[in-house]
C-alpha cells in the first residue's frame, strides 16, 4: 500500500512550486522539472561542455560519455535490449517523422496500407499521411467507440494482409485511455505489419517494457517526463532500424564520405544527424534517476488515486460531461470534459481566474473530436506532484462555471 501523503513532500523537489500558487493541471502538455534535472542540465554546460562527437581530447570524451550514460538509462527505463535501439531526437514529433519517412520509404510501395488510430495526436497522424502520399500508400483509420475503446472486431477488421504499419498511441492525450497494445501487436505481426507506438502520454506515467509489449517502435518526449524541452526518444528494434535509410543527413551520422559515395554510421548515430542537445539528454537521464528513486509503479498508483478523486468530483457536477470511458480507472491522469452551453475557452478563462491551469481546445486531435462528435473540450491532466487540495479547488471552480456564465441552474 502506497503512503499517498508521502508524495506531497516531493512537491518540494520542484522549484516552480515555491513561486507558482496556481494549480497546474496541464501536465499532459508538459511536466515541471525537479531541481536535480535543472542542475544536471546546468552542470553539463559548466563542467562537460564540448561537442559530444567522440572527440580526441578528454573534455569531448567526457561529453560523449555523459550522453551515452543517459542513453543507457533510457534503455533501462523502457527495457530495450541495446543502446543501439535508442535514438535521440528533439521531441516525440521528430521521432515519429523520422520513423514514418525512413521506414515507409525503405519498406512500403504503392497500394500498401498504413493503419492509423483515429485517436492519434496530429503528431502521430500527419507524418504517416505525408509518408503515405509520397509513396502512394493508403491510410485507413482504426476507429474507437464512444468510450474511446478499440474493440477486437475493429482491430481484426482494420488490420489486414495489405497493412504494413499500424500507428497507435499507447495512451490517448484526449481520453486518457490505454489502447489494447497486445491485441494490436498480435494482429499486426500476424499480418506482417510493424507497430509504431506513440508513448508520449504513457511513458511518463506507467511502466514501459518494449520487449514485453513487443512494439517495433516507440516515441516519447523528455519534457513531458520531468526533463528539459528539446529532447525526444525514438526506440526501434535493432534489426528493423538497421535496414532503414537515414532520415536527416549531414554531420555526425556517417562513416565516410567521398564526392560520389557515402557510408552511413552504425546505429544509433545513423539517425542522429547534427549536434545533439547533449545537456537536455543528460537532463533526461537525471529525470529517469528521479523516476527510479520514486518507483514508477507507485507514481502510477498515486496518479490513479488523484484521477479517481477528480473523476468523481466532475461526474457529480450537473451539465458536465467527461469524454471517454465511464470508468475512472481508464483515464490514467487525463480528464477531458465539456460544460453544456459554455465554450471550452470560457471554461479555461474562468478556471484561470480561480488560479487553475488547464487546457482548452482541440488538443491537437481534431479528427478524434470530430469522430466523437465533440466540437472542442477542456482537459485537466495530472501528475504525481499534484495534490488532493488542487483537485478539490478545480472541482469547486468547475461547479460554479455555468452560474458565472449566466445560467440560472442551482
Amino acid at each position: 500500500m502506497t503512503n499517498n501523503n508521502s508524495f506531497d513532500a516531493h512537491r518540494e523537489d520542484f522549484p516552480i512550486f515555491s513561486d507558482l500558487k496556481d494549480a497546474y493541471l496541464d501536465n499532459a502538455a508538459t511536466s515541471h522539472k525537479p531541481y536535480s534535472v535543472i542542475e544536471a542540465e546546468q552542470t553539463f554546460y559548466e563542467r562537460y561542455n564540448s561537442n559530444p562527437l567522440r572527440g580526441f581530447y578528454p573534455l569531448s570524451l567526457e561529453a560523449t560519455n555523459q550522453v551515452e550514460l543517459a542513453r543507457d538509462k533510457v534503455r533501462g527505463f523502457i527495457n530495450a535490449k541495446s543502446t543501439k535501439e535508442i535514438i535521440f531526437t528533439k521531441n516525440a514529433t521528430e521521432s515519429i517523422n523520422t520513423a514514418a519517412f525512413s521506414f515507409c520509404t525503405g519498406n512500403l510501395k504503392r497500394g500498401d496500407k498504413i493503419v492509423v488510430a483515429v485517436t492519434e495526436h496530429h503528431s502521430n497522424m500527419l507524418p504517416w499521411r505525408s509518408a503515405a502520399k509520397l509513396i502512394g500508400a493508403d491510410i485507413e483509420y482504426l476507429k474507437c467507440n464512444n468510450e474511446g475503446e478499440f474493440t477486437a472486431e475493429e482491430i481484426n477488421r482494420c488490420i489486414d494482409e495489405r497493412t504494413k504499419v499500424v500507428a497507435v498511441g499507447i495512451v490517448s492525450n484526449v481520453t486518457g485511455r490505454t489502447a489494447p497494445i497486445d491485441l494490436i501487436v498480435q494482429r499486426a505481426h500476424q499480418a506482417g505489419a510493424v507497430v509504431f507506438a506513440d508513448g508520449a502520454q504513457s511513458v511518463p506515467h506507467m511502466k514501459t517494457d518494449v520487449q514485453a509489449l513487443d512494439v517495433d517502435f516507440l516515441a516519447f518526449s523528455g519534457h513531458k517526463m520531468l526533463a528539459a524541452m528539446g529532447v525526444g526518444v525514438l526506440y526501434g528494434k535493432e534489426e528493423i532500424l538497421d535496414k532503414m535509410p537515414p532520415f536527416l543527413t549531414g554531420g555526425e551520422m556517417i562513416d565516410s564520405v567521398t564526392l560520389d559515395e557515402v557510408t552511413y554510421a552504425q546505429l544509433p548515430s545513423k539517425f542522429e544527424a547534427g549536434t545533439l542537445n547533449a545537456a537536455g539528454i543528460v537532463s533526461l537521464g537525471t529525470a529517469i534517476d528521479y523516476y527510479n528513486s520514486l518507483d514508477i509503479e507507485k507514481i502510477r498508483q498515486r496518479e490513479l488515486l488523484l484521477t479517481k478523486r477528480a473523476f468523481e468530483g466532475l461526474s457529480a457536477i450537473p451539465n458536465v460531461h467527461i469524454i471517454g470511458s465511464s470508468d475512472h480507472t481508464d483515464h490514467a491522469g487525463i480528464l477531458s470534459f465539456t460544460v453544456d452551453g459554455v465554450h471550452p475557452h470560457d471554461v479555461s478563462e474562468i478556471l484561470s481566474s480561480d488560479g487553475i491551469c488547464i487546457r482548452a481546445g482541440h488538443h491537437c486531435a481534431q479528427p478524434l473530436l470530430a469522430h466523437l462528435g465533440v466540437y472542442a473540450c477542456s482537459r485537466a491532466s495530472l501528475m504525481f506532484y499534484n495534490t488532493e487540495n488542487e483537485i478539490d479547488k478545480f472541482i469547486s471552480s468547475v461547479s460554479t462555471i455555468r452560474q458565472r456564465m449566466g445560467y440560472k441552474d442551482v
Binding site: 471550452p344 475557452h345 478563462e349 474562468i350 480561480d354 472542442a376 471552480s397 458565472r404 456564465m405
Partner: protein
C-alpha cells in the same frame, strides 16, 4: 465566494441572449470569418443601402467573447453609415491594442465591456473576429 472573472454582465447577457444571432435571407453582403487559433467561425450578414447599414446579423459557433463581441458590434453599427462603422471599428481595434483614451472607449458604449481583452493576448483573436470580418466587408466587398 469565487474570484471575479472578466465576464461582466454585459458580456454574459449578449452571449446568452444575442439579439442579432440569426440568418438574414437575401443578405447583400455575407462573409465568413475564422479564428485561426481555435477554428471558431462566424458568418456576418449585412444589408447596406445608400451607404447606410440597414440591417445586420451573425451566425456561427464560438466562445462568449467572440459571440458577445459580434452582438455588441451589430448593435453599434446598424443604422450607421459605412464611414461611421469604419470609424467605430478603428476605435475598437485601438481599445483592444490598449491605446484608446477613456473618451474613445466611452464612444464605444457597450463594446467597452471588452476593454480588458487588451491584457489578454490569448483572447484578442476571439474579440476581433467579427470586427475583422466587418472591416473586410466594408473595405473589400463594397465597391
Amino acid at each position: 465566494m469565487y474570484n471575479k472573472s472578466f465576464y461582466n454582465e454585459i458580456l454574459i447577457d449578449h452571449n446568452m441572449n444575442p439579439i442579432h444571432k440569426h440568418d438574414i435571407e437575401n443578405a447583400v453582403c455575407k462573409l465568413d470569418g475564422v479564428n485561426p487559433s481555435c477554428g471558431d467561425s462566424l458568418t456576418l450578414m449585412l444589408n447596406i443601402e445608400d451607404n447606410i447599414i440597414k440591417n445586420g446579423s451573425f451566425t456561427g459557433v464560438g466562445c462568449a467573447v467572440s459571440q458577445a463581441s459580434a452582438d455588441i458590434m451589430l448593435d453599434l453599427i446598424i443604422g450607421k453609415t459605412v464611414d461611421e462603422a469604419k470609424e467605430i471599428t478603428e476605435l475598437f481595434m485601438k481599445m483592444i491594442q490598449g491605446t484608446a483614451t477613456e473618451e474613445e472607449i466611452e464612444q464605444l458604449e457597450e463594446a467597452g465591456a471588452l476593454r480588458d481583452i487588451s491584457h489578454m493576448p490569448a483572447r484578442v483573436k476571439c474579440a476581433v473576429l467579427s470586427w475583422r470580418t466587418l472591416s473586410e466587408v466594408l473595405t473589400k466587398q463594397l465597391k
